[in-house]
Structure formats: C-alpha cells, structure tokens
Amino acid sequence: MRVLLTTSTFLYISAAFLNAQTAAYRAPRLAGHPDLNGIWEAVNTANWNLQDHPASPGPLWETGAIGSVPPGRTVIEGGGPIPYKPEALAKQKANFASRRTEDPEAKCYMPGIPRANYMPYPFQIVETPKDILFVYEFASSNRLINMGKPQEAGSDTWMGTNNGRWEGETLVIDVTGLNGLAWLDRNGDFLSDKAHVVERFTRTSRDTMSYTAIIEDPSLFTKTWTISMPLYRHVEKDAQLLEFKCTEFAEELLYGKYRKGGEK
C-alpha cells in the first residue's frame, strides 16, 4: 500500500512536470534567474496607434507613402478602446491634431515607458547578476532597473523610476515617477505624471518574449488597462545597436523659427 502510493505520487509529479515543460518555456539562467540578455524589438504598429486602425495618410503630404500610417490591429487586451475620461479623450484628440510638431518622437525626446519598448528601433537588455540595464537605440535613451531594495521615485523623469523583481520566469518592473510628458504613440495617446505602469517580460522561446504593461492612471482613465505583444530577438550575425542621435534631425523643427533669416 505504502509502496503503491509513493509510486503513484511520483507518476503524478512527473506528469505535472512534463506539462509545465511543454506549456511554458524555461529560459536559460544567469545567476539563477531567467537570462533576458539580447537585442529585442517589437514587430507591430503600436507606435503608430495602440488601437485597431486602418491605413491612413501621415501628417505631411510631402512625404507621400513614406510618412503614411500602416494598418494594424490593437495591442490592448480585450480590444480596447483606451478607457479615457472625457477630458482626457479631448486632450488625446488635440494631441493628434498637432502630432506633426508636438509628438515627443518628432522632437527626439526620450520616449518614456512603455513606448520605448515598441518603437520601430531595437533595444538591448543587459542583464547583470544584479541590476538590469535597458539600452534603447532611439535617442540613446536608457533605464536602469533596480533589482535590489525598491527605491521610491525621486524627481519625475522621462524613463521613470524602475524597480524590478523576478516572479518565476517573469521579470516584473514597477514603473513610477514618470513625468507625464511622453506620449504612448503617434496617435496622441498619452499618460500623466500620475501613471503607474507594471511591465512583465517573459521569454517564450529562444527568440521570442512576451511583453505586457498594465497601465494605471486614475487621473486619465476610468479603469486599468493592459497592452500585450511579443518581442522578437535579433538573430542576425553580429547584431548590435547603432547610434540614433536624432536631436540633429529635430533642430529645424524645434528652432527653425529662430534661425537668422527665418525657417528654411
């Protein structure tokens, strides 16, 4: 009896273990934690618009099809829409109307969180045995994830105060202290300085990772909402981040009216 019970328990545990193996990918380890090192990039249209959107012209007819908006499906869990309060929705509409000059991306400002993770530029996760650095190609922006004792946000910043922790296979980053100046996409969607973003990064295969960001901002939204998308690892030989210092490309836009003799 006793022997039988032990055997069946063993079988049961084995089956559970096998199930877990097939259902969830177990990432390689670095200092005992999932190793997220690599160059990652989203392959979607979230940077144009987080919500379902058809193709549309861009803000400048002069750039023709180059500046137009590719169609895309929503990355919002449950399909959206973004649960704006009425006055916040009005602000989004005003943002959209002035997007050519007012989108922080056009000005080459740091993209903020979560937008930095789904811009059409790669980023590198540098996971050390202690802290984790996210290095973004766009505007040389970066953020250090504190994996030690959580720190309270000091001054508000573009890239936020980032406190990380491991939950099994998942890196969870709690982001506060955002300055409320960043947008979420070229559609004028935005967060305020009251925003709290909880990000989850989970490797799902050798070359893919799931990314979700839970967005909480009671000053703008009637409820918490979540975006979710896969990230893909750059597998090309000798992949590396290059330098995209876009400040130079934004100076005419920002300061052209102060040029001697006026704008070009």
């Binding site: 670095l30 080459c108 740091m110 050390t128 650095l133 000091g154 910043t157 920002l254 300061y255 001697k260």
Partner: protein
Amino acid sequence: MNYHKNLIAAGLLAAAALMAQTAKAPYTPPKTPWGDPDLQGVWPGNMGVPMQRPLNQGARATLTDEEFAKKQDQAKKQAQADSESTAASDSRVGIGPPSYWTERGKPTRQTSLIVDPPNGRLPELTPEAVKYRKEARGGKGLPGAWSGNADSWEDLNIYYRCISRGLLGSVIPVVYNNGNQILQAPGYVVFRNEMIHESRVIPLDGRPHVNPAIKMYMGDSRGHWDGSTLVVETTNFTDKDAIGSNGAGYPGDPGYHSDQLKVTERFTRTSPTHMDYRITVDDPKTWVKPWTILIELERNDDYQILEYACHEGNYAMTDILSGARDAEAAKKISK
C-alpha cells in the same frame, strides 16, 4: 655544499619577497559568474587635473609634497566657500550652475591628464589639421566656446546642442554629473555616462567593426581582456565632435578630431576601490603622433546616476537664438 645552496636559495627568496613588496603586487579583481574580471560599479570622474601639464613642471608626472599640500589647502578653502554659497551662482556672469551642483574632485598628485608624451603636452598638429581648423566653416572656425554668434544652432557646439559629448568628452572630468557606470553581461561590457545619457555597449566576442560608412559620435567599440585589463578599441567616429571637456572643443582643449580617430582604452582595477583608466588617442590626420591620458577613477557606490534629459530641457538653445534675433530687431529699430 648543501648548506651553501640552501643559504643562496634563502637569499633569493628574501630578495623576491622584498621585490614583491616594493613593486606593487598587481590587484586581481573578483570574477563574474561567467569568469570575466569584474569591473562593475559606479566610477565617477575626478575633476582637478589639467589636461596639459604646466610648462614649468617639465617631465614631472607627479606633484611635489609642497605642491600637493598647497592643492589640498586650496580644495579645503573651496569646499568651505561652496558650503557658504549653496544658492548662489557659481559664475561671474551669473549663468553658471549653483555651487551645490559642483563636483570639485579629490586632489591627486597627477600633474596632467596627458601622461604620454612624457612632457604631458599634446603632440604637434599635422599641417592638414592646422589648415582645417583655420578654414573650417568658411573661416568662421569650429564652434567651440560660444562667442555670441548665433545665426543658427550650428554656430553652437554639440554640447550646447545636447547631441552628445563624444566618447572622450563623456569621460574627461567636468564640474558636474561625472557619473560613469560599468555593467557586465556574458559577452558584453557597458560603459555608461551620466551627462547626456550615453550607454556604450561593447561586445567582447572578437567580431569585426561595422563598415567605415557607419559613423558615430561614440564610435564603434570592440573589447577584449588582456589579463585583468579590459582593452577597448573604438573606430568609426564622426568628425563632428572634439576632444576635451564635453566634446565641445573649448579653447585650450585638444579640440577637433578627424574621422580617422582610433581610441584605445585600458581599464585596470588597481585595488577594490581604484581603477586606472588609460586612453590612447591615435588620429594621424590631426596629431603627428598618438598621445595617452590617464584618469584615475575611484569607485563610489553612493553616487546616484540620474536621468540627464539635456535635449528635452534645452531652453538655453531657444533663449540664445531668440535672444540673438531680438537683439538684431532692436538694432534695426534704433537705426
């Protein structure tokens, strides 16, 4: 016979022990879990050593006791003055940062950042570089110190423009925000600079540089280990920044470099708290021979690197340019 042999052996051992004591035994840093020497930590730059050695110090690489005591005394007085004027401006013209921003650095005995050539001075410029500096931008010269000429942002240097400070401008100590941080992951070292938020990700796998057509302010870096020393070779530079504080090309700085610049950095930990950071500048289009600077870095675990949103907060650019246009308009009216 045996007795004599033993005596000689004992003598040799004693001599070896003495030598080990006098010649500083090299420090062996701890290892990362994957076996690389561990250089991680925050290593802020230390202000206070001039780039070039004053001529009267000749080939002397270190200060005398008397000179060092004088320097320490000056530092003490400066610290006292700083503490008494925390809210006041640090600059005679009233536009400098308040003194509580200022990082004065700890006095050291080093007489100049340049340690090679042995006289601590920059080598001669090539004739090509002399000509270029004179004729740049139709004779306007390179934008170094801003001298009031602000027809457009291009009259201001890359530091005013918040573009970058270049590789060397990002590490040569300046009066504030000298934070440098080293992070390591398998196959990579990252050298992070606080001001204008640079993160140079350096692969260690021996891959070739990217094509010379790809030019970058921070260049293209490749690293390898030479014992416990990290050696980083960087090429693929633009010719749009300068060597010196903030990559701006201020008068007195080494200044403009060409796109043929090759920078070789050597990071050597000399103790749990100190690191020798040696940088060799080789730009045959600009200087007749290579030169080397040494920056002694001291680890500071309490130094907090903050987000330096330079371009995002560049009100100065708008003010300088709009001020110049207003001044022109006022001149026209008074005529």
